[in-house]
Amino acid sequence: MHGMVNRALQGFVTATYGPELWAEVRSQACLPFDDFEAMLHYPDALTLTCFDAACHVLHKHPNALLEDIGTWLVTDPHLEPLRRLMRFSGASFLDFLLSLDELGDRGRLAVPDLDLPRIELERLDPSSFRIRAQWRLPGIGPILMGCLRAMADDYGALAYLRLDGIEGGTECLHVQLLDTAFARGRGFELGRGVA
């Protein structure tokens, strides 16, 4: 798995629970180095071992941990550049949802060898959507749910999200968009990132 994915797991555990907890995860997973490097690649098995160790050390259900990681990716102040890149997808949460199928291409523009999930969006009625996501590791559903909940918040939209089962290797989500202008949301100035 790409180093960014592994780095996200390490970053989440370190930022949320502290470096000692990560050290414990590392030692349980018998990780042969201190830190994942964002720009390198690692065997999938190593990613899974670390994830299992993290669930064990933190006493968390895998889905809960994955969802927390998804939320953290959008909300951690140190990951502001990532949040900004996400906000480029659309001017409103609805636009953002409707451009989710571009996420893979968008990711590859930023990091050409990054393997992002394939996402399809089906509009069930004007305000509800079914999202199907496929990735090379299991767990994209809860990650995406955490991430989308945080993005709805970021845009100031009110949305209800739930996991909607797994079909084959495809993980499904259901999104009910209740209010696109529920709160002010966080700012996004287009030109601020590079000025």
Partner: protein, 362 residues
């Protein structure tokens, strides 16, 4: 390929509302036959930042720079269909791009603009948002890519900084001379200090300096010099006892720590054997490199009281220098109480040889 000519006569003329033009070209200007602004797209209005533009002269608003300056309406009309380089007069440092079409029936013109390569600064300075661009305009994607690049470059830079730092740390901690595979200076200092700290120390320190090494380096090149050094490394690795430690501590200088030496006669025999092995010609590039070695020795047994490491190194160095002065290719054992000649850089070769100091093992 876009045709550079106005629409052919046969094409039907279509009517578009101002609202449609705003949607398709949020950065356009429409001017009448006298060059007065009739309408401006919402994004351009925002960029100009001076409210309603209607009635203003086009040339008060923009400055046409490429392909040529145009300050009259007819000069501007001549640029129809070409790529136009221009700026807003209010922001002359932000280069924009434009394309112009004359409207049929001498009804004026439309000048559509884009941010060109100054897009990143322009978006920031004009305070533009995602809604200010046509969905077909990829400026926002360019901006996304620009930000993504900055982030990933920062990650790459961090990675190479960390790798550099790790390498520096590893080198600082290294104990091996990479060329010869022997210990390095740092490792030898540690070994000597450990030998001196031994409650029942018994060791000898040997300093080896290659003779004629500089001549090999100068005449046959550094690669030949390296081949000779590797040979010496091999001699020392293969012909010392398991407890002994050999290190390369300078360009062509070596130290050997011999544990539990069996008296000065034995030391002299070891030294003579090493010199003979080092003198074996080393083939390099079809030639034979011939060197020799001078050796100075200081043995623990020769000291009445425990010397410190600096004293020991000075004594062994002095013995080596005596060996060099005595004609090279030989070894000298440090005699406690003997005067210690100072070695100086660029010492001339000895002229009339002084009486040779005693040579153990003779």
């Amino acid at each position: 390929m876009i045709t550079r000519n106005p629409a052919p006569v046969a094409m039907p003329v279509i009517a578009l509302s101002g609202g449609t033009l705003d949607l398709l070209m949020p950065m356009h200007l429409r001017a009448d036959a006298r060059g007065r602004v009739v309408q401006a797209g919402p994004t351009l209005l925002k960029m100009a930042g001076q409210g309603d533009l209607a009635g203003l002269s086009l040339f008060d608003l923009v400055e046409i720079r490429r392909p040529a300056r145009a300050e009259t309406l007819s000069a501007l009309m001549a640029l129809a269909g070409q790529r136009i380089g221009l700026v807003l007069r209010a922001t002359p440092h932000l280069a924009l791009r434009g394309a112009l079409v004359p409207l049929p029936g001498d009804a004026g013109l439309i000048l559509d603009l884009s941010l060109g390569l100054s897009f990143a600064r322009a978006v920031a300075e004009f305070g533009l948002t995602l809604n200010d661009f046509s969905p077909c305009d990829q400026t926002v994607d360019m901006l996304y890519l620009h930000e993504a690049n900055i982030s990933t470059m920062a990650l790459s830079r961090h990675l190479s900084h960390r790798l550099q730092a790790a390498r520096a740390r590893a080198e600082a901690q290294a104990l091996t001379d990479p060329l010869t595979g022997l210990a390095n200076r740092r490792a030898m200092d540690i070994e000597i200090a450990r030998a001196l700290d031994d409650p029942m120390p018994d060791f000898a320190l040997m300093q080896i300096d290659l003779d004629h090494f500089k001549a090999i380096n100068d005449s046959l090149g550094h690669a030949a010099g390296d081949a000779v050094l590797e040979w010496v490394g091999r001699v020392l690795r293969e012909h010392l006892r398991a407890g002994d430690v050999a290190g390369r501590v300078g360009g062509d200088e070596f130290l050997v720590l011999l544990r539990d030496p069996d008296g000065s006669d034995s030391l002299a025999r070891v030294a003579a054997r090493l010199i003979a092995l080092i003198e074996t010609p080393v083939p390099f590039g079809g030639q034979l490199c011939r060197i020799s070695a001078s050796i100075g020795i200081a043995a623990w047994a020769g000291y009445a009281e425990r010397p410190d490491i600096n004293r020991l190194l000075a004594d062994v160095d002095a013995a080596l220098y005596t060996a060099k002065r005595a004609g090279r290719g030989r070894c000298v054992l440090h005699q406690p109480g003997a005067p210690r000649p100072r070695r100086r850089a660029g010492d001339p070769p000895p002229m009339g040889l002084e009486p040779a100091p005693p040579r153990p093992g003779d």
